[in-house]
Symmetry: C2
Subunit: 648 residues, 2 copies
C-alpha cells in the first residue's frame, strides 16, 4: 500500500493481483489471462490469406448448389444457366475486390463497414451497418456449420438422423474454442485452408482433364429428392434467373474480411492486405467457375441428402476413396473455420458498438480469457436456434443470408464514395481538415470515387434483387428485422446519452445533509434473526417501527406477545390483511409515512434476512427482502437493506 | 388506529382493508377474495356421487382399451381374456370398497392416505404416501386429458396432428378454472357426470339387446395401427396376462376420492359418504364389465387413432350420429372433469404436507382467489411436460400411473389395519387413550382389521405385479422417483426442524450493542448517484471508505480526480484488477477488514444504485449490488444496502 496524499482526499492504491480460483471453467476454457497478456503479432500474405479467407472460400461449398436448387424448379434442362450466372458473379467479385482494395488503403487501421459508415455517413447508417453485419455473422455460423454437416452426411449417410444435433454440437465446440481465446497461430489456419485449396484444385483439374479426354461420366445415382418435389415444371423466367443469381451471390460473403483485419498484416500492411485480397479473389473466382462447370458436366443435382461437392468428388475420383474423403474433410473443416471467423468478428463488432453506446455496455466486458465472452455465447445461442428451426438445411437459411452482407457492402462503398468526394473538396479548401481526421487529399479522388460508387450501386442492386426474389422464402424476416434492430440500437444510444446527462456533476448543487432517519422493520415473527436486525437498526436511529402484516390472527397474537418481551420497547404496528397480501399493505403504510416526512428525512427499511447454512436451501424460505427491494427501488429517499442472520 | 398500550411496547393495529388493484390477472382469474369468503356448503348422496366420482368412472374410457393393447401382443385371438380380467378387477373393486367404507367411518373428517398413514404409521410412511399421491395426481391429469383428446380425435380425425397441443391447452384451461377457484356448485358436476352415466348405460343396454337379438355386427374398419406393429405374435404367458391385468387396474384409480372429501357431505356424513362409495363402485364395476364385454363382441381393436369407446359407440348406434357424438362428448367431458379433481386434490395435499414441513412453505400460501395457486400452477406445468414427452399417448402414460395409486391404497389400508389393532388393544387397557386422539374402542375390531389387512395385502400385491410387469415400459421411472421424492421430503422436514431450533429465543442471550460502523462504498465512477449514496452513508458513520476497482487506468485517473473534488475528504481506495475481475478483489478487501474488526463492530456496504426511469432499461446497466449481495449475504456482521438514485 502506498499512501498518496492529494489535496482533500486520501487515495490509497493497492495492487490486489487477485487471481481467480481454479474451477471447472478453467478446465473448459483455460487459466485466466491478465490484461497485459493481449497478443501483438503480425503476419505476411501467405498466412494472411489463410487467416482471412476461410469465410469467402468456403462459400463455394454451397453457392453453386443453391443456384442449381433454384433452377431445379424449371427442370434439369435449365441447369446450364448456372454457368453464365457464375460468370456474372465473378464480374461482381471483380468490382467488389477493386472497391475493397481502395478501402484497405484508405483505412490502414481496419475499415469494416461499421467504421466506414460511422466515419463518413453518420449515426443511423452506422447502426444499420451494425445490424446488417451482426445478423450476417450469425448466419455465417448457421450456414457454414449446416453446410459442413451436409458434407459429413454426404460421406456417411447413416448420420442424417443426427444432422441437427451434430450441427449444434459443432457450434458449441467452436464457441468453447473461442471462449478459450486460443492465440491462434497462423499455422493452425494455414494447414486446413491450403489443404482445402489444394483439394479443390486437384478435383477441378482432374475433372477438367477427364472432360477433355472424354472419360468423365455422369454422377451414378444422383439424388432425386429435390427434383421429385417439382412435379410441374416452371418456365424459365427472368425472375427465376435472378433468384438463382441471388443464391449464387452468397459465394461473395466474406470478401470484406481482410478489410477488417488489416492491422494483423506485416508492414507495409495496406499493400500486403491489398495483394492478399486480390489473390483471394482470384482463387475464389476460379473455384466458383470450376465447381459450377464440373457440377454441370457430371449432371450433379441439388439435394438435402448429398451435396454437389460430394457428387462431383465421387465422380471425378471414380469412387469414395481417399481422395474423395480428403475433399469432403477439407470442405467440412474450412466451413467450420468460416464459422470460427464469425465467432471472432461478432463479439469484436458488438464490443465496438457497445463502446459507442449502441449495444448494452456488458458487451464490452472481456472475460477471464481476454475475449468478449458475452458476445461469443450470444452468437452461439442465436446461431443454434436458427439451425434447429431450419433443421440445419442450408437451402432454408440462404434466403436470410446475403441481404445483410450486401447491405453492409453498399453502406461501406457509399461511405467510401462520400469520403473521396470530401477528399476532393479538400483539395479546393486545404484549410478545412478536421482535427484528428485521417482524411487526406488524394489526387486520384475522381477515379476512386467512381470505383466505389459503382461498387455501391451494384451491391445495392444485388441486395434489392435478393430481397425481392427471396422475399417469400425468408428474406422478409431480415427485411423486417433490420429496421427493428436499428431502432433498438438507437433507443439504447438515446438511453445512455440521457443517463450520462442526468448523472453529470456539471451544475450540481449538493443537497442538505440528512438530519433524520426513520427505520421501518417488517417482521414475520420474532426470533433470533429479527433481533439481529433490531440490533443493527438501533445503530441507525432511535425512531424504529416494527411492522407485522397479519394474515393469521393466531400468528399475530404470538408475534405481539413475543415483541412485548423482546422488542426493547420499540413500536410494533400490525397491519391487517384480509386478502392475504403481504407487500401491498406494507407499501401503503410506507407511502403514508413517505408523504408526511420532512425534506431532509430518509426512510430506511431494515429487513431481517434468515440465511440457511446451505445456499440451496434458500428456496425453502420466502424471500421478502427481494420482493420489497424490487418495488421500493423506484421510490425516492427510501433505502432498503437486509441484515443477514446466518445459521451456524 | 387504536392505540393499545401493553407493558413495554406500543402495539398499533390497523385494518388496511387493502384491496389489490384491478389488473390483467383479474380478467383471467377474477376479483380477489377475502379470507372470510371461504365457502361452507354440504351436499347429499346424489350430488356427492357427481362431485367425487369423475376420476373413478372416467377410467372406463381407457382401462378396457389398455388391457386389449397388452393382449394385442399375442394377437386378436387372445382378446377374450379381457373378460375374466375385468371380472377379477371387479373383485378387487369389492375388496377396496369394503376397505374404504371402513376408513370413511373411522375418519369422518376426511381420511386420505396421507392422513391415515401419518396418524397410524408415522413420518416415513406418511412421506411415502405423499410422494405416491402427488405423482398420482399429476398422472391423473396427464392420462385423463390425453384420453379425453383421444376421444375427440376419434370423432374428428383431422385434429390428430394437433393432439398434443389440444391436450396442453386443455390442461391450461383447467388450470385457469382452478386459479379462479370457482365455487363449484354440485350442479356443475352433476349434469356432465349423470350425462356420462346415462350415455354409458344407453350404449351398454342397446349393445346387449343387439347382442341378444343377433343384430350387432363387428366394427367397420377397425383401426389396425397397433396390431400391425406386432409382426410376430407372442405366446399367451402368465406374464402377459398379469401385465394386461395391471393395465386394467387403472380402472380403480379414483376410488379413494370420497374418503378424502367426507366433510362435504350432509349429516350423517360418514353414512352418506359410505353409501355413495358403494353406489359408485356398483356403477363403475358394471360399466367396466359392460364396456369390456361389448368391446369383445364388436371386435374393437386398441389403437392410437380411434378409441375403443368410439368403436363401440359407432357400432352400437350404427353410425356417427347424435348418439355417437353424445357418447364421445360425455366421455371427453368426464375425463376433463377427472383432471379437474386432481387440480383440487394436488394443491390441497401439498398445502397439508407443507404445513407439516415436508414441502416448501410457499405451498401453504393461498392466492388472491383463496386457492393454493402455486400448487395449481406446478401441477399444470409438470402434467403438460408429461403430455408433451409422451405425445399425449395414453398407452405410454399408463405404465407410470397405477403404482402410486396402489402404493397409497396399501399404505392407507395398512394404516387402518394398524388402527384397528390399536383400537382392539384399547379395549384391554381403556385408560391408555391418547389425549386428542379420535381412536375409540370398536367391538368389531377383529373383523375390520381383517378387511383392511386383506385390502392392504391385495393392493400391495397388485402394486408389485404392476411394477414388475410394466417395469421396462416406464414403471421404472416411478420406482426410482418415489424414493427420491421421499428423501427430498424428509430432507426438507429436517431443514425446517433445524431452522426452528436455531432461531428460537429459548435460552437466548442478547449480544452487546453495536458500537462502531464502518462503511464501505464501492464506486464505478463519481456522479450524482455516487454522491446520493455518500450523503446517506454519512448518516451511518464517519468511517467511510470509497473503493474503486480499477480495470482501466484512464478511467481510474478520472475517478480519482473527481473524488478529490466531490468526495468531501473521505478515503478512496483503488484496487488494481489485472484480470478485469470486479467482485473478487472487492471481496478480498472486505475480508481483510473483516478480520481486523472488533466484536461489536459491523461493516455496512453502501452501494450506489442507479435506477433508470423505465424499469425495462435496467438490463442496460451492470447490476453490481445484486452480485455483491449474493456473495456477502453469507458473511457474518456485514450488511449490504443500496441507495437508489432515480432519474427524473
Amino acid at each position: 500500500m502506498d499512501f498518496d496524499e492529494n489535496n482533500g482526499s486520501t487515495v490509497i492504491k493497492r495492487n490486489t493481483e487477485y487471481k481467480p480460483n481454479k474451477n471447472w471453467r478453467n478446465l473448459l476454457i483455460g487459466r485466466p489471462l491478465s490484461t497485459a497478456d493481449a497478443p501483438h503479432q503480425t503476419i505476411g500474405k501467405l498466412l494472411g490469406l489463410a487467416v482471412f479467407s476461410s469465410d469467402a472460400m468456403s462459400s463455394v461449398a454451397y453457392a453453386p448448389q443453391e443456384m442449381l436448387l433454384i433452377l431445379a424448379a424449371a427442370g434439369v434442362a435449365s441447369f446450364h444457366i448456372s454457368i453464365p450466372l457464375a460468370m456474372a458473379i465473378c464480374g461482381l467479385l471483380i468490382i467488389l475486390t477493386l472497391s475493397y482494395e481502395q478501402t484497405i488503403h484508405a483505412y490502414p487501421s481496419g475499415g469494416g463497414a461499421y467504421i466506414v459508415a460511422r466515419d463518413n455517413l453518420g449515426e443511423l447508417p452506422a447502426q444499420t451497418a451494425a445490424a446488417a453485419l451482426l445478423t450476417d455473422y450469425i448466419l455465417t455460423v448457421s450456414v457454414s456449420i449446416s453446410s459442413g454437416v451436409a458434407q459429413l452426411v454426404s460421406a456417411f449417410p447413416a448420420l442424417i438422423t443426427y444432422k441437427v444435433w451434430i450441427a449444434v454440437a459443432l457450434v458449441f465446440f467452436v464457441m468453447l474454442i473461442n471462449l478459450r481465446g486460443v492465440k491462434e497461430s497462423g499455422i493452425t489456419f494455414a494447414i486446413p485452408t491450403y489443404f482445402f485449396i489444394i483439394m479443390m484444385y486437384v478435383t477441378i483439374v482432374i475433372g477438367l482433364i477427364r472432360v477433355i479426354s472424354g472419360t468423365l461420366h455422369p454422377v451414378v445415382g444422383a439424388p432425386q429428392d429435390i427434383l421429385m418435389l417439382n412435379e410441374t415444371l416452371q418456365p424459365i423466367t427472368l425472375f427465376l434467373i435472378l433468384k438463382a443469381f441471388s443464391s449464387g451471390t452468397t459465394a461473395l460473403t466474406g470478401v470484406e474480411a481482410i478489410s477488417n483485419g488489416i492491422t494483423a498484416f506485416k508492414e507495409p500492411r495496406s499493400k500486403n492486405a491489398g495483394r492478399t485480397l486480390i489473390i483471394m479473389a482470384v482463387i475464389l473466382g476460379s473455384m466458383m467457375l470450376g465447381i459450377t462447370y464440373l457440377a454441370h458436366m457430371v449432371g450433379a443435382t441439388p439435394s438435402e441428402e448429398e451435396t454437389v461437392i460430394s457428387q462431383i468428388a465421387r465422380t471425378v475420383f471414380d469412387n469414395r476413396g481417399v481422395f474423395y474423403l480428403g475433399t469432403i474433410a477439407a470442405t467440412m473443416v474450412i466451413l467450420v473455420m468460416a464459422a470460427n471467423t464469425a465467432f471472432a468478428d461478432f463479439p469484436r463488432l458488438s464490443a465496438i458498438a457497445a463502446t459507442d453506446g449502441f449495444l448494452p455496455r456488458q458487451f464490452t466486458y472481456r472475460g477471464s480469457r481476454l475475449v468478449y465472452s458475452r458476445g461469443i455465447v450470444a452468437l452461439a445461442i442465436v446461431a443454434s436456434i436458427l439451425i434447429i428451426v431450419t433443421q440445419a438445411s442450408v437451402s432454408r437459411l440462404i434466403p436470410l443470408y446475403a441481404i445483410g452482407v450486401f447491405l453492409s457492402f453498399t453502406l461501406s462503398q457509399t461511405g467510401m464514395a462520400r469520403r473521396w468526394w470530401k477528399s476532393g473538396k479538400l483539395g479546393l479548401e486545404e484549410s478545412k481538415v478536421e482535427r484528428g481526421s485521417t482524411l487526406k487529399f488524394d489526387k486520384g479522388w475522381k477515379f476512386k470515387m467512381f470505383v466505389n460508387s459503382l461498387g455501391a450501386l451494384v451491391t445495392g442492386m444485388v441486395m434489392m434483387v435478393f430481397a425481392i426474389t427471396k422475399f417469400k422464402d425468408g428474406a422478409w424476416f431480415v427485411v423486417v428485422l433490420t429496421p427493428i434492430l436499428v431502432f433498438t440500437f438507437s433507443s439504447i444510444h438515446r438511453h445512455y446519452m440521457k443517463v450520462a446527462a442526468d448523472l453529470t456533476l456539471d451544475n450540481y448543487v449538493a443537497p442538505n445533509r440528512i438530519v433524520r432517519q426513520r427505520v421501518i422493520m417488517p417482521i414475520g415473527g420474532v426470533h433470533k434473526s429479527t433481533l439481529a436486525a433490531l440490533r443493527y437498526a438501533k445503530t441507525l436511529s432511535d425512531d424504529i417501527t416494527a411492522v407485522h402484516v397479519s394474515t393469521d390472527p393466531i400468528e399475530t397474537k404470538k408475534v405481539q406477545e413475543k415483541w412485548d418481551l423482546w422488542g426493547d420497547g420499540y413500536r410494533l404496528v400490525v397491519l391487517d390483511s384480509p386478502y392475504r397480501l403481504f407487500v401491498e399493505p406494507l407499501l401503503e403504510y410506507i407511502e403514508e409515512l413517505d408523504e408526511s416526512k420532512a425534506p431532509n428525512e430518509i426512510i430506511s427499511i431494515v429487513v431481517p434476512q434468515f440465511i440457511p447454512k446451505h445456499i440451496w436451501n434458500i428456496w425453502l424460505h420466502t424471500n421478502t427482502a427481494d420482493t420489497l427491494r424490487r418495488v421500493l427501488l423506484y421510490r425516492k429517499d427510501i433505502v432498503i437493506m437486509e441484515v443477514p442472520y446466518q445459521v451456524d
